[in-house]
Symmetry: C2
Subunit: 299 residues, 2 copies
Amino acid sequence: MTFPKSVRLVEVGPRDGLQNEPNPIDTATKLELIDRLGAAGIAYIEAASFVSPKWVPQMADHREVMTGLTRRQGVTYAALSPNLKGLEAALECGVEEVAVFGAASEAFSQKNINCSVAESLERFIPVLERAQQAGVRVRGYVSCVLGCPYEGEIAPAKVAEVSKALYEMGCYEVSLGDTIGTGTPLAAKRMIEAVSRDIPMDKLAAHFHDTYGQALANLYAVLEEGISVVDSSVAGLGGCPYAKGASGNVASEDVVYLLNGLGIETGIDLEALADTGTWITQTIGRPNRSKVGVALAAK
Amino acid sequence: MTFPKSVRLVEVGPRDGLQNEPNPIDTATKLELIDRLGAAGIAYIEAASFVSPKWVPQMADHREVMTGLTRRQGVTYAALSPNLKGLEAALECGVEEVAVFGAASEAFSQKNINCSVAESLERFIPVLERAQQAGVRVRGYVSCVLGCPYEGEIAPAKVAEVSKALYEMGCYEVSLGDTIGTGTPLAAKRMIEAVSRDIPMDKLAAHFHDTYGQALANLYAVLEEGISVVDSSVAGLGGCPYAKGASGNVASEDVVYLLNGLGIETGIDLEALADTGTWITQTIGRPNRSKVGVALAAK
C-alpha cells in the first residue's frame, strides 16, 4: 500500500455531468456552478466542450462559459476539444488546457465516433501539435477501460496500448474511464498495473462511474496502487447514458469524504462542496446522487 | 491480502430494513419477500424481531412471520430477541437462531435502551443461558462500531471490549455495525484488527451502512483483512433513522456484485436477488437503493 499524500480532484460536473442532462442548462447557472466549485477549493474544473452544438446542444454555449467565468488563482479551467476546429475556438476563448478522448473498445469507438481507435488517435495528432504550439496542455481520456456496453470485458493490454499512444503523442495526463461503471476493485487494480508499466503512475487519473455502486471501492483499490488524480462530478451530475435512471460519474463529495477518512489531502472544503451539490440539483431539478450530500443536508 | 474464498451473506432486509419503514408492511408481503430471498440463494435471513409492538409496531407480526414462512433446506431463519420474554416467544415459534444487540457507545446505549453498555450485556446473560438450554444459537450485534450519532468517534478498543464480552458470553458470531455509516476503509480495518485480537476472524461479521456512500469501500477493506460474513439488505431497505432520506444498510445486490467481481463465492443468483429488490420496492412504494438493482432493471 502506497497511498498518495494528496489527491487532485478533477471536477467534471459542468462538462461531463451537464452534457448528459436531457436539456441544456442556462449559461448563468453553469457560471455560478463553476464559481462555487472553485470557491470550495476545487483546483481543476472541466468547464465546457468545444464540439458541434448539433451533436451536443448541452454544450452549445462553450464560448460564453469559457469567456464568462471568473478565473480564480490556482484553478485550471479546461475544455474538451476533440478536433482542430474545436481547439481553435477554445484557444480564442483563452482556454488554458484542453482534452481529447479515445476509447479502449473498437466497438465503442465505431458506434460513438464512427471510426476505429487507431483512426481516432491519428486525428488527435494535429490537435496536440497545435495545442503545443499555443502552449496549451492536453489531457487524454480513455473510455471503456473496465468494460464496454457493446464488447463487454476489455483487456488491460488494450487500455495500456491506447493510453501509451495518447501519452507518447504528448498528453501530459491520461484519465482512465470506467464509462459504464461495471468495474470491480481487482479488475481496476489489474488495469492500472498494466497501464502504469508504460506511463508513470503520477500521470494517470481514475475516472470511475458509480452505475453499479462500485466506484468508491474501485477508487480505494487504485489509491492503494498510488493513483493520485481522481475525476468526479459534484452531486454525481450526469447519470448514465447507457442505463436510464442509473448513476454515472462518482460524486465528488463522496470521493472527498473517502479521502478525508484516509488522511489524504485535497484542499477542498467538503461542506461548501456539498452545499454546491445541494444547490445545483435543486436548481436544475435533479436528484442529488451524492450520498454524503444527502446525509449532510438531512442533518 | 487474504480474501476469503467464499462469503456468507446475512440478509437483514425483512427485519432491520422493514423495521425502519414508517408504516408496518403486511405479513403476506414479508413472507413473499423472505421466500424470494431464499429462492435467490440467500442462506441466512433475519426474518423478525421479538420486541414489544409498542416500541416496534413494524415487527408486531413476528409470530405470524416466523410460523408462516416456508422453510427451505439450507436456509437459516433468525429473529432478534433482546430479552427473555422475546426469546420464549421466539422459541415457541420454532426459531432456529436468535440475536441480541449491544452498543460500543455509552451515549447510544443510554439513549436507545436507557441503560449502560455493561448493564445491557448483563441482561443478555439469562437470554444466552436459556437459548443454549433450548439448543438455539445466538448471534451478537454491536452497534456504533465506527461512530455514534451522539458521541462521534468510537475507540476500536471499546468495540473490541463489547465484542469480546458478547463472544465470551456464548454468541457464536459478532456482527459489527457501522450504524450511522460514517466509517471509512482505514478506520474499518483498524477496528477489525482490534476486535480480531480477541475473537477469531471467522466469527466476525461486517454490518456496514451506506449513509455516506462508503459501505462497499469499507467492505472491500475488511475483506482484505479476512472478514467472510457480511450483513446487507436487499434494495438497501430501511434507510437511515439518523438522517431522513439518506441510505442505511448497504444493498445486498451491490455486495454480491462486488464479491462476484472479486471471485468470491456466495451461492447467490444476482439476477433473482435484483428482481426481488425491484419487486419489494415497487410493492411497498420505496426507492430502490441498490445501484446494481437500478442498473440491471434499466437494461
